[in-house]
């Protein structure tokens, strides 16, 4: 188990280095960083001096190593647009995005698994058919349309929920939390649904398909033949066996939640990293774009690592180190 873990961590570091290289390339070769930083009036000497000071005359390899070392310390340079350190900007915006992703992931997982199990068990009921039909809408409508639709219904027409922003936040150390105030919760409902709806649909359909598959297996038939209660068979035996593929997909989907929160944050003017990224793109603010790219990669890699560990927790056959003797007949 330990060597497996070490192995996975090395793989993760490899992936991150590749992404760091991409990020570095964007930073150094999309336009001239000096041009982006200095004003129109700077002389050639000023430029050359700044170039020397920033180490842009060093060899590419030295620069890349420096970039990685800085990135490892959370140092991504200074935003052209805000004239502030990118790391500070991101730290400020991160809580909003993480809270949004957290709430919508919980929403997608809970509703997705619940409805998936229901539609798998009661496959002919009208409610199952209804849920499946509606879930098609979830897959086919683009996120921004869903967001605008929800705003139109719940903010404009019914006036129940706010259409933008985070509501009131409470400061906990460096973390600005919107989950401790009523207005914060009201404000997060629509963006969380918008962001999570697609993943909910994917998880629902996957759980349903897996349930149908597992319910046909011999061990479920045998569990019924042993007279176990319906509940023990459906939830104890069947649901747990659907979990390996569900964990895989759910993990990847939570990664995309972080990466794709950009659209939802734009629709709802949610003050998170995605909105920061969009503003960065509009102003060709390369340090912000590079940092965001790297952060999204870190999120994906971390989630995949957790997913791998969860496999072993769910399925004993994947516990590589299990070395019990095997009985022979």
């Amino acid at each position: 188990m330990f060597s497996y873990l070490v192995n996975r961590i090395f793989q993760a570091i490899g992936v991150l280095l590749v992404v760091a290289l991409l990020s570095f390339v964007i930073f150094n070769y999309v336009g001239d960083p000096i041009n982006n930083m200095v004003g129109q009036e700077a002389t050639l000497e000023d430029r050359e001096e700044l170039r020397e000071r920033l180490g842009l005359n060093d060899s590419v390899i030295v620069q890349f190593v420096r970039f990685v070392a800085n990135a490892a310390e959370g140092e991504f340079g200074i935003s052209y647009q805000f004239q502030r350190k990118v790391s500070d900007l991101i730290l400020e915006r991160m809580p909003a995005t993480l809270e949004l992703v957290f709430v919508s992931a919980i929403f997608a997982l809970a509703a997705g698994i619940g409805l998936g199990v229901y539609t798998g068990l009661r496959r002919d009921s009208w409610l199952s058919r209804f849920v499946l039909t509606v879930s098609l809408v979830g897959v086919s409508l683009p996120t921004f349309v869903i967001g605008i639709l929800l705003i139109y219904i719940f903010s404009v027409t019914l006036e129940w929920l706010p259409s933008f922003g985070r509501g009131d936040t409470v400061r906990l150390g460096t973390w600005d939390s919107g989950l401790l105030t009523g207005s914060g919760w009201l404000a997060i409902i629509l963006p969380a649904i918008t962001l999570g709806l697609f993943q909910l649909t994917i998880i629902l359909r996957l759980v349903r398909a897996e349930m149908l598959e597992v319910l046909r297996t011999d061990y479920i038939k045998f569990a019924r033949a042993r007279g176990l209660s319906r509940r023990a068979v459906n939830f104890g035996h069947a649901l747990k066996n659907t979990m390996v593929p569900v964990i895989t997909i759910a993990g990847l989907q939570i990664g995309t939640l972080i990466a794709f929160s950009i659209i939802t944050e734009t629709v709802f003017q949610w003050p998170g990293m995605g909105l920061l990224f969009i503003q960065g793109v509009e102003f060709a603010d390369v340090p912000i774009m590079g940092a965001y790219l790297l952060l999204a990669a870190i999120a994906f890699v971390a989630i995949n690592l957790i997913v791998d560990l969860l496999y072993a927790a769910v399925d004993p056959r994947l516990r590589v180190s299990a070395q019990r003797g095997t009985g022979t007949a």
């Binding site: 061990y219 019924r224 042993r226 023990a232 035996h237 003797g325 009985g327």
Partner: protein, 347 residues
């Protein structure tokens, strides 16, 4: 009809199972009659598709929808159990009727230890605490011949070989001391060298506990070795019923006769084993008269016109017109001859 003590442990009467399809109702079982007495081993044999497994599943109410029971009665311990609610039937399954399926590799849930699967079953049916259930689980594993049983409770199914897993499955079927075990091809998926061991374990435990067994198999060797009585099935019906010795040596029904003829005998040199011409009719295409008529060497017009019921044969009872006074003597006869002489000697 509630004969209490006189009733056999399991009594299946005219059981019909069918499958609703777009083109109408497809009959799978066309009226199965069989019974199992206390402590007895009944072998149920027949070709693939004869309805052996479906009969077993129908008795315990585990038919895969949309297949469903369409008629007949199932009595168990003097109680009618067909048509019981799902929950009432669930309390019989595992507690009073144990089940063993064909493939031990897929019968156990791969994600749980066998200890957990055993204690879960024990505690579902018996009023026991966690510790007592675990002790009982260890004893059961020991009884089915798993070495160092108590220390293996924490092992997962994939850590056992096929034969060992089938022993675990037998232990699971015996968890709550059932009166009857329905064993559906319990050795078919196993290595030949393991089959005898598993049958031995099953036989020994059922004798010790006084458990009756309905042993479904197409392996006549297993039947000859294990069963007290045999029911031969063909095209969704029982067509012969008698003690093992009688059916194996002196079958009354031409089909059973052919089936027994196709078993090779050790020490006897034969060229080619006899085989029964043709194939069993498909579900839904069973002829009106005797289902075996198209393949039967003794067929008469009567066989094609009317379906025979169970009649006293030579020594067993068989669903064959030969044992009816209506049996015509000559092969070419066109109509049923009401005044035929006692018809035992034909063929």
């Amino acid at each position: 009809m509630n004969g209490g003590a006189a009733r056999p442990l399991l009594d299946v009467r005219d059981l019909k199972v069918g499958l609703p399809t777009r083109r109408g109702f497809l009959p799978i079982l066309n009226g199965v009659d069989l019974h199992v007495k206390e402590g007895e081993v009944l072998g149920v044999v027949g070709e693939s598709g004869a309805g052996k497994s479906i009969t077993g599943l129908a008795v315990i109410g585990l038919l895969e929808p949309p297949a469903r029971v369409d008629g007949g009665e199932v009595w168990f311990e003097g109680e009618r159990i067909d048509g019981l609610s799902g929950d009432a039937l669930r309390r019989i399954r595992g507690a009073r009727i144990g089940v063993i399926f064909q493939d031990p590799l897929t019968s156990l849930n791969p994600l749980y230890t066998i200890g957990r699967q055993l204690t879960e079953t024990i505690r579902t049916h018996m009023d026991m605490g966690a510790d007592a259930a675990e002790r009982r689980a260890g004893e059961l594993l020991d009884e089915v011949g798993i070495p160092a049983a108590a220390s293996r409770l924490g092992a997962y199914p994939h850590e056992f070989s096929g034969g060992m897993r089938q022993r675990v499955v037998i232990a699971l079927a015996l968890c709550a001391n059932p009166r009857l075990i329905i064993a559906d091809e319990p050795t078919t998926a196993l290595d030949v060298s393991i089959q005898a061991q598993i049958i031995g374990v099953l036989k020994r435990l059922c004798r010790e506990h006084g458990t009756a067994v309905m042993l479904i198999t197409h392996d006549m060797g297993v039947i000859a070795e294990t069963a007290d009585r045999v029911a031969v099935m063909y095209a969704g019906r029982v067509i012969e019923d008698g003690t093992v010795a009688e059916v194996v040596r002196n079958a009354s029904h031409p089909y059973s006769h052919g089936l027994m003829g196709s078993i090779p005998t050790i020490g006897e040199r034969v060229g080619r084993l006899p085989q029964i011409r043709g194939a069993m009719p498909r579900v839904g295409a069973v002829p009106d008269g005797c289902a075996f008529a198209p393949r039967c060497p003794e067929v008469r017009d009567l066989c094609r016109a009317e379906r025979p019921t169970m009649m006293g044969g030579r020594t067993t009872s068989a669903a064959c017109w030969q044992y009816s006074p209506r049996w015509p003597d000559t092969a070419g006869a066109t109509g049923p001859e009401e005044a035929g002489p006692g018809a035992a000697a034909d063929g």
